[in-house]
């Protein structure tokens, strides 16, 4: 490369430009290096801090890491399926570890739902109900927060802040508070997930509404439609596919969220998983993980398929609003 650079002498202005460019590049490089240095320092400090405050130190625990995995290996290959479908186990010794048939939920005299399927359905229902209610409430709120529909700045401001608070308020606190009132069960989890969903969906919804095409609304305004009519007939039809698709995405997220909330007292599969891991029931743990994994994959695939049908193939990323 250097060979081809013929050293033509630069003019006065050329020198000036060259110098400026060098300065600019130098400053930029310095900022990059500085930022990189700060980043490295922050990472190192964070890692040290995390390791220091952890119960077990990383390098001390690492050799035992695989012990734990080996503890998860079931007695025989069929054990996982027995645990999943609540079939009696040949290893049954009276302990909780192999009492699979205990958990059966009988629908009729002989027909039963295996325990973990029932719990999974419970979790899915928590997610579905919270998504539906959150969708409804977010739907009602979002039009009040959209700049193109509401002229009153204060109303917009309050609705937006309200939704922000709903979204940022830790779910675990809401569920913990309602657990104290209702005692253990699914309702606290439902309330917690719903409240978060209202905030999260409301925010995404009003961003969609603000990007809506205002010509139908103008037409309705010219014909003398009032605010509700303009919104219902002018805005809703064009935003509804997007809303539904965001709602489906939220459903995916809520299935995970209700599992996690379940693990801290909200019931459902999350609680079963936490108990079985902490008690060291290998077959039960594997059965639950397998079931949960399958469910999440199925829900994700279903929702992706539905979203594609609703909003076409236009890319739909996580990071765009959420």
């Amino acid at each position: 490369m250097t060979a081809t650079m013929t050293a033509t002498p630069l003019s006065e202005t050329g020198h000036l430009v060259e110098r400026h460019w060098r300065e600019l590049a130098g400053r930029r490089r310095m900022y990059t290096l500085l930022g990189f240095g700060v980043f490295i320092a922050a990472m190192t400090a964070s890692l040290w801090f995390a390791n220091e405050t952890n119960a077990g130190k990383f390098f001390d625990r690492l050799p035992y890491f695989f012990d734990f995995i080996s503890m998860l290996v079931p007695r025989d290959g069929w054990e996982v399926w027995r645990a999943m479908f609540d079939l009696p186990s040949p290893h049954f010794d009276g302990s909780l570890k192999f009492d699979y048939p205990e958990g059966r939920v009988y629908l009729t005299e002989t027909l039963y739902l295996p325990e973990y399927f029932y719990k999974m359905i419970e979790t899915l229902n928590i997610a579905a109900v919270s998504t539906l209610i959150g969708f409804g409430a977010g739907f009602l709120l979002c039009f009040l927060a959209a700049r193109n529909l509401v002229a009153n700045r204060w109303l917009r401001f309050f609705v937006r802040r309200f939704m922000e608070i709903l979204r940022a308020f830790p779910e675990i606190v809401i569920s913990g508070f309602f657990l104290a009132i209702f005692s253990l069960g699914a309702v606290p989890a439902m309330i917690a997930v719903t409240i978060h969903t209202i905030g999260a969906l409301g925010k995404m919804f009003f961003e969609v509404v603000e990007n809506a095409d205002m010509r139908p609304e103008e037409g309705l305004r010219a014909a003398g439609g009032n605010w509700t009519e303009r919104v219902w007939f002018g805005i809703v039809p064009q935003v509804l596919p997007n809303f539904l698709s965001y709602g489906l995405l939220r459903f995916e997220i809520n299935v995970r969220a209700s599992t996690i909330i379940g693990a801290v007292g909200g019931g459902g599969i999350g609680e079963a998983l936490r108990l079985s891991i902490s008690r060291g029931h290998e077959a039960k743990t594997l059965a639950i993980v397998l079931l949960l994994f399958t469910t999440i994959v199925v829900v994700d695939q279903f929702s992706a398929w539905m979203r594609k049908r609703l909003v076409g193939s236009q890319a739909f990323e996580f990071g765009r609003g959420a």
């Binding site: 922050a42 990472m43 964070s46 801090f49 995390a50 390791n51 405050t53 952890n54 119960a55 077990g56 990383f58 625990r61 890491f65 734990f68 419970e122 229902n125 579905a128 109900v129 539906l132 608070i165 940022a168 308020f169 830790p170 779910e171 675990i172 606190v173 913990g176 508070f177 657990l179 104290a180 009132i181 209702f182 005692s183 069960g185 699914a186 309702v187 439902m190 995970r256 969220a257 599992t259 996690i260 909330i261 693990a263 801290v264 999350g270 998983l273 936490r274 891991i277 902490s278 993980v289 949960l292 994994f293 999440i296 994959v297 994700d300 890319a315 990323e317 996580f318 990071g319 959420a322």
Partner: protein
């Protein structure tokens, strides 16, 4: 306004068959979906028996818990002794040892009581002092029983058998609850004033509580002669029992937020503390007053500032390190998974399924596993976030890579650049801002997730929150932590938004 004739209406309808002659499905889908949702909600109501749960909830406790978020209670108990009163506070009262709040006024007088001889402990020890006080006469009490008997036996040698001692005791106390309400307690009689209403109660010690008049709306008695519960709204309540009156007086604010009651700085005004730190004599000889003050604040027994902040920092670190590592690992893997960058079907599928696996095994599952492996603490949280988000980022990044504009790559390739250089100059400038923006977004949302998975043992503020909530006593601590979390989330949200906007502007300009 001219009305349309029937034929004109028909013509209009004929011109727009899509609107006026809609198929059955078009017409009724909306209502059917609505009906389906309504039915489903009814099913859910039954499935979770929401009705029973709601009606069985402890709604009256809920109000108290909510009030605890921003206020605290002081709980004096006034016990009826034979002919006097004993006021006691719980051990960890927010007013510290031996509280003398201004809203509790007492009247003291000399009373006599029977004490069992050998058992001369503290009570009669105090009596010895007050027997001298008795020479000065009753102290401001008009209800004191006349001192008839001779003074107790010589203080030096307590005698065997029951004896009567005379000592100065509280014989009447008035507890003011807020500006308009007060409880006046004397042995055998309690008078509660709330606004203009007055409730007079006769007490037969250890037997019964009998109101003199029908109870007002703010007082309740479940059984005749049983305890009466008096409510003063937000400012408190009282339980009048036959042996004691339990008072709960509520105050706004977070009590002892800076210094706890064991601190030498406790109860001092801001100015006093400042002057003590600046120029006062050393309160503890070993360390300076400033160090003592900082120490006392950090290790405030009730609020545990140091612990809360360390746990909060853990949560932040969990989200930060987890997100950074996940981005760093997902970055190269995404190139292998993108079908236009690595034209190898097998490799694409392997990495994409790996991403799906990592993402679909829930963060909760990872968190529980790693808590088992590393013990509770931020390492488990970091690992959980790292594993889940490697999957998420891998998916997002590879999708971004598959959507890039191919012209830049072709341009770089056409000048004969090596493959690595093609990626560096043909692909990276397009995708890097998007990658960073996605990572930044997840950094912010992971801060929230880290709070939740903390509660299952992955460390950080989540666990601390969970512990504080489980006691059902420390709702003010919960409020404190929630405020801190909200601040952190708000700040990170803004930082992340700021950078994302800068990145997006940068990428749209170039």
């Amino acid at each position: 306004m001219a009305l349309l004739s029937a034929s004109e209406i028909g013509k209009v309808a004929a011109r727009h068959p899509a609107l006026f002659k809609r198929s059955f499905a078009q017409r009724f889908t909306g209502s059917l979906v609505a009906a389906g949702i309504a039915l489903y909600l009814v099913f859910a109501w039954w499935f979770f028996s929401i009705g029973t749960v709601l009606s069985n909830g402890n709604w009256d406790i809920a109000g108290n818990y909510l009030a605890d978020w921003v206020s605290y209670e002081v709980r004096p108990d006034v016990e009826f002794a034979e002919s006097h009163l004993v006021i006691s506070y719980p051990r960890f009262s927010p007013l510290g040892e031996n509280p003398q709040p201004g809203w509790v006024t007492t009247e003291r007088a000399v009373v006599e009581r029977v004490v069992n001889g050998p058992d001369t402990s503290k009570g009669s020890g105090g009596g010895q002092d007050s027997s001298f006080g008795s020479l000065l006469g009753p102290v401001g009490g008009d209800t004191a029983p006349a001192a008839e008997r001779e003074p107790a036996a010589t203080p030096e040698s307590p005698e065997r058998g029951p004896e009567t001692v005379r000592e100065e005791e509280i014989v009447r106390t008035v507890v003011e609850i807020g500006p308009t309400a007060a409880i006046d307690i004397r042995p055998g009689r309690v008078t509660v004033t709330r606004g203009t209403e007055i409730l007079d109660v006769d007490i037969v010690r250890n037997e019964s509580v009998i109101p003199r008049a029908p109870l007002p709306a703010w007082a309740q008695q479940r059984a005749t002669g049983g305890k009466i519960i008096v409510s003063f709204g937000f400012s408190g309540r009282a339980e009048i029992e036959s042996d004691e009156v339990k008072i709960r007086h509520r105050f706004w604010g977070w009590e002892n937020f800076v210094f706890d009651t064991n601190s030498p700085f406790w109860g001092k005004s801001f100015g006093e503390v400042v002057s003590l730190i600046a120029a006062g004599p050393r309160l503890v000889p070993e360390i300076s007053n400033f160090a003592l003050a900082v120490n006392n604040i950090l290790y405030n027994a009730e609020w545990q500032h140091a612990d809360v902040w360390i746990k909060l920092l853990q949560t932040i670190v969990m989200a930060f390190v987890g997100t950074v590592f996940a981005s760093l690992l997902a970055f190269p893997l995404a190139f292998a998974a993108a079908r236009n960058i690595t034209p190898n079907f097998f490799a694409n599928q392997v990495f994409k399924r790996l991403f799906d696996f990592l993402r679909s095994v829930d963060m909760l599952i990872w968190a529980l596993f790693f808590t088992r492996a590393f013990g509770p603490g931020p390492l488990a949280g970091i690992s959980a976030i790292f594993f889940t988000d490697t999957g998420t980022f891998g998916k997002l990044y590879s999708e971004t890579l598959e959507n890039i504009d191919d012209k830049q790559r072709e341009g770089v390739r056409s000048v004969g650049a090596a493959p690595a250089v093609v990626q560096r100059y043909g692909v990276l400038p397009q995708v890097l801002p998007v990658f960073l923006s996605q990572s930044l977004y997840f950094w912010e949302s992971n801060t929230r997730s880290a709070t939740i998975i903390g509660a299952v043992g992955a460390g950080g503020i989540g666990l601390k929150l969970w512990e504080a909530m489980r006691t059902n006593q420390d709702w003010e601590n919960v409020a404190y932590m929630v405020v801190l979390i909200l601040i952190v989330v708000f700040v990170f949200d803004n930082i992340s938004n700021f950078f994302r906007q800068r990145l997006m502007e940068g990428s749209s300009r170039s």
